[in-house]
């Protein structure tokens, strides 16, 4: 018979406000097996934990039930407490009476009754618990970073700095990500390239870092400490080792009409290209959709001019298998497509552009060499209108419900830069709210208004109508003056919402890392574990977790790196002991469990058993590899003979919980 202790937490008034904790502790005292029952203000505090420890020692408890917050919150805490008092940590069960009782019920009576029933269920379960001893598994001391933007680069550099090998997988031909396309960065107006490209070079030169550019992750197997990842290296038709990045081919290629993706289609490039001058690796790539040689076998100019003989038209996609102990997701973002926003005329007029396109137009390496000209007629714009929150904070189904966070600041930056360079240009900004939380952010915005004379207008734009003379008629409302405004603009800039990269969803599925409804990766705890995914061994860096600016991304990247380093510094990891096990006496060797196991953790072997009349029988029975089993329990249900069970969530335990609830 177990000797069970029950500990009911008040959680201040979080629980005690709607649950009569004293009555719960009193009611559970008479449950079978319970020898001690008490309540306390904060069980998770040091004093609370001491109450548990003392009771375990004093009453020789063999099982502990804690009625408190969710086990997802403090199960680990209370297991450690039990362990410190000499009790097996897996002899602890938690009845969730905060998230699943006190916070969702207002009625004290109903709440108290439910808390007692949940307490009973936990007592019934813990009476059937058995001490579990976790196994150990080795750690592969290498990390994978998926995405080579500023988030991925910073994470990789920090991990490499601690002495661990790290690979970056980047789907574009170069690392650098969105930051390479930016002109200046707020609130200091540093040139983006000047602060980013040295980091890109650091990555290339660091002997601990390997860059797989123009590559994607195609398969992920394994678990924390031991992932096996298949990386697909897409054919770039250029031998990376031979190419010197001289750029001869990109000048001689006769196919000149390829929209330049790096400049967002504002100008053209050749079919063989290096995205920009500081690309890392500086290797040419052939765009198979436009290359005449690859499409119809006629051309071959690049191969002729290449002194290094690097062109290889027969190159195929190749697959590489690598092992890692930890994986960091840094897949970043894209501005949303604006097709649904017809009222702003983005598709009708070339002079309605997105903010990212404006970055390219203002960049010295951009299509106009840094001179701001209208895309339609290459004239200097004298009136520019910025429209904020295009698709952000939007509940109409067309856009995103969240705030994209960066738009207020980059628009202030754009407005300021334009007013500084072209003082004859009038700049209007239509906004819902101006959000400037961040160091020196509000000062920056106020400078735009006060020093640079940018016209900020609180109100939304209803329509942008292209006029026959090439102007854009912007109709909007000024909420503060309570009047309708009409501005004749030469250029309209839309602050498009940002959304997670399209590859994130399929990657999330591959990694079994959970995501929210907007396809941002979910963190293990929104406040206390912001850079870890709930899936062990998967870490989050940058905008893939939620909208962020560059300083925030870099700090999160460093935090993710430190978590990875903490993991890789261990030689062995403690495995989850709640794994399946097979009762060999009941197993009939049917293979049903083996077929449903997603991890291949079940194997069969012939074993000798004692038969009747001193005979020996040889039977085929299942056995589970503890290090590979993740404890889902699919096999337990598939097993027709009831031989397979799951430690920690056994058939009898769950059945006891059902009984207690239905009593």
């Amino acid at each position: 018979m177990q000797r069970i202790g029950v500990f009911v937490c008040h959680c201040g008034t979080n629980i005690a406000g709607t649950v009569d904790v004293k009555a719960v502790a009193e009611a559970l005292k008479s449950e079978p097996g319970v020898v001690f029952s008490t309540e306390y203000q904060y069980m998770c505090s040091e004093a609370g934990q001491n109450i548990i420890k003392n009771a375990i020692r004093e009453h020789q408890l063999t099982g502990v039930v804690i009625c408190s917050c969710s086990p997802r919150m403090h199960e680990a805490t209370f297991r450690k407490t039990a362990s410190a008092a000499g009790l097996n940590p897996y002899m602890v069960e938690i009845a969730n009476i905060r998230e699943q009782v006190s916070w969702i019920h207002k009625d004290m009576k109903a709440g108290t009754e439910k808390a007692i029933i949940l307490g009973r269920a936990a007592i019934a379960k813990v009476s059937l618990n058995a001490p579990l001893i976790p196994g150990e598994s080795p750690v592969v001391k290498r990390a994978l970073v998926i995405g080579g933007g500023i988030a991925g680069i910073q994470t990789a550099l920090d991990i490499a700095d601690a002495g661990f090998e790290v690979d970056i997988v980047e789907k574009e031909p170069t690392i650098g990500g969105k930051m390479t396309q930016l002109d200046k960065t707020f609130p200091t107006l540093d040139c983006a390239a000047c602060i980013l490209t040295p980091k890109m070079v650091d990555c290339a030169q660091n002997e601990k870092i390997r860059i797989y550019s123009y590559s994607e992750v195609s398969e992920v197997k394994g678990f924390v400490g031991n992932f096996t990842v298949t990386i697909k290296k897409k054919a770039r038709y250029v031998d990376e080792l031979k190419c010197t990045g001289c750029g001869e081919c990109t000048e001689k290629c006769p196919q000149k009409k390829v929209p330049n993706a790096f400049n967002l289609g504002l100008d053209n490039r050749r079919a063989i290209y290096i995205p920009f001058a500081q690309a890392v690796p500086k290797v040419a790539t052939i765009d198979a959709d436009y290359c005449n040689m690859l499409k119809n076998g006629k051309c071959g100019v690049c191969a002729k001019v290449c002194g290094a003989g690097a062109i290889d038209y027969k190159q195929k996609d190749s697959f590489i298998e690598e092992r890692y102990g930890a994986i960091v997701v840094a897949t970043g973002f894209n501005p949303i497509k604006l097709d649904a926003y017809e009222e702003y005329g983005y598709k009708q007029s070339k002079d309605v552009i997105t903010s990212l396109e404006l970055e390219r137009l203002m960049n010295a390496a951009g299509p106009n060499g840094g001179t701001l000209l209208r895309p339609s007629d290459k004239t200097h714009p004298h009136t520019i209108v910025f429209v904020q929150c295009v698709g952000s904070r939007c509940d109409d189904g067309k856009g995103k419900s969240y705030c994209s966070k960066i738009c207020c600041m980059y628009t202030a930056k754009h407005a300021m830069l334009i007013r500084e360079k072209y003082p004859d240009t009038e700049v209007y900004v239509f906004y819902i709210d101006v959000r400037t939380p961040g160091k020196n952010f509000d000062e920056f915005y106020r400078r735009a208004v006060e020093e640079y004379g940018v016209h900020y207008i609180k109100g939304m734009v209803g329509k942008v109508a292209p006029q026959p003379d090439g102007k854009l008629l912007v109709q909007g409302s000024d909420l503060l003056a309570d009047e309708q405004l009409r501005v004749e603009a030469d250029l309209v800039v839309l602050a498009a919402a940002i959304e997670p990269d399209k590859t994130a969803r399929s990657l999330g599925t591959m990694l079994t890392a959970s995501m929210d409804t907007n396809d941002f990766f979910t963190e293990a705890h929104p406040k206390l574990r912001p850079v870890e995914s709930p899936t062990a061994g998967i870490f989050l860096s940058g905008v893939c977790q939620g909208p962020k600016d560059i300083p925030e991304t870099v700090s999160q990247a460093g935090a993710a790196a430190s978590k990875v380093i903490g993991l890789l510094a261990k030689d062995k990891l403690t495995c989850n002991p709640c794994v399946a096990h097979s009762d060999e006496m009941l197993c009939n060797g049917c293979s049903a469990c083996e077929k449903v196991c997603p991890y291949g953790a079940i194997t069969y072997s012939d074993k000798e058993f004692r038969g009747p009349n001193r005979t020996t029988l040889i039977r085929r029975v299942a056995s589970v590899n503890d290090a590979v089993c993740q404890g889902c329990g699919a096999c337990t249900v598939a097993c027709p003979s009831g031989a397979m069970d799951l430690k920690g969530f056994s058939n009898s335990q769950i059945m006891a919980e059902v009984d207690a609830i239905c009593k």
């Binding site: 905060r98 969702i104 009754e113 269920a121 999330g508 599925t509 079994t512 997603p598 889902c632 239905c662």
Partner: protein, 146 residues
């Protein structure tokens, strides 16, 4: 939504997978979204851990409704667990229907860790449905009642 002014409070057992739905239920709590206290949650590692026997046992012991919640198809923490659960429950529920346990008393629902609101809405709706159906008299083993 109570019928005949009786104080009928259904007994509802909810099996929730640890990774998505249990977290979704926690989120409903964190956001203070109300749903009736008649729902009692049992945490399981994965929806595929739920043996049909557990559900039969619940009805035998007097449960009025049983709901199984797991990760959305394709998002299972263990890759394929929820697909097994879906197939098993389809068979089980059609058998239960044949035995006289109305289809409305059993349900499978996908709730992600981010869908606290969906969890609360689902539970509110399920409790209403089961309350309307009244006490479950089929399959209940009266010897188990004290």
């Amino acid at each position: 939504m109570q019928v005949n002014n009786t104080e009928f409070k259904p007994k509802i057992v909810a099996f929730c997978c640890n990774w998505c739905s249990y977290a979704g239920a926690d989120l409903a709590g964190t956001n203070r979204l109300q749903y009736p206290a008649d729902v009692k949650i049992i945490r399981v590692p994965c929806s595929c851990r739920v043996n049909p026997i557990f559900i039969l046992r619940a009805f035998q012991r007097g449960a009025d409704g049983v709901i199984l919640c797991g990760c959305h198809p394709g998002d299972c923490h263990y890759t394929t667990g929820n697909y097994y659960a879906r197939r098993r429950m389809t068979l089980l529920f059609s058998m239960l229907d044949y035995l006289g346990i109305e289809k409305e008393r059993t349900r499978v629902e996908w709730v992600s860790a981010a869908e606290g609101a969906k969890f609360a809405a689902t539970m509110n709706e399920f409790v209403q449905t089961v309350t309307k159906l009244g006490r479950n008299r089929k399959l209940e083993d009266l010897r188990c009642r004290k």
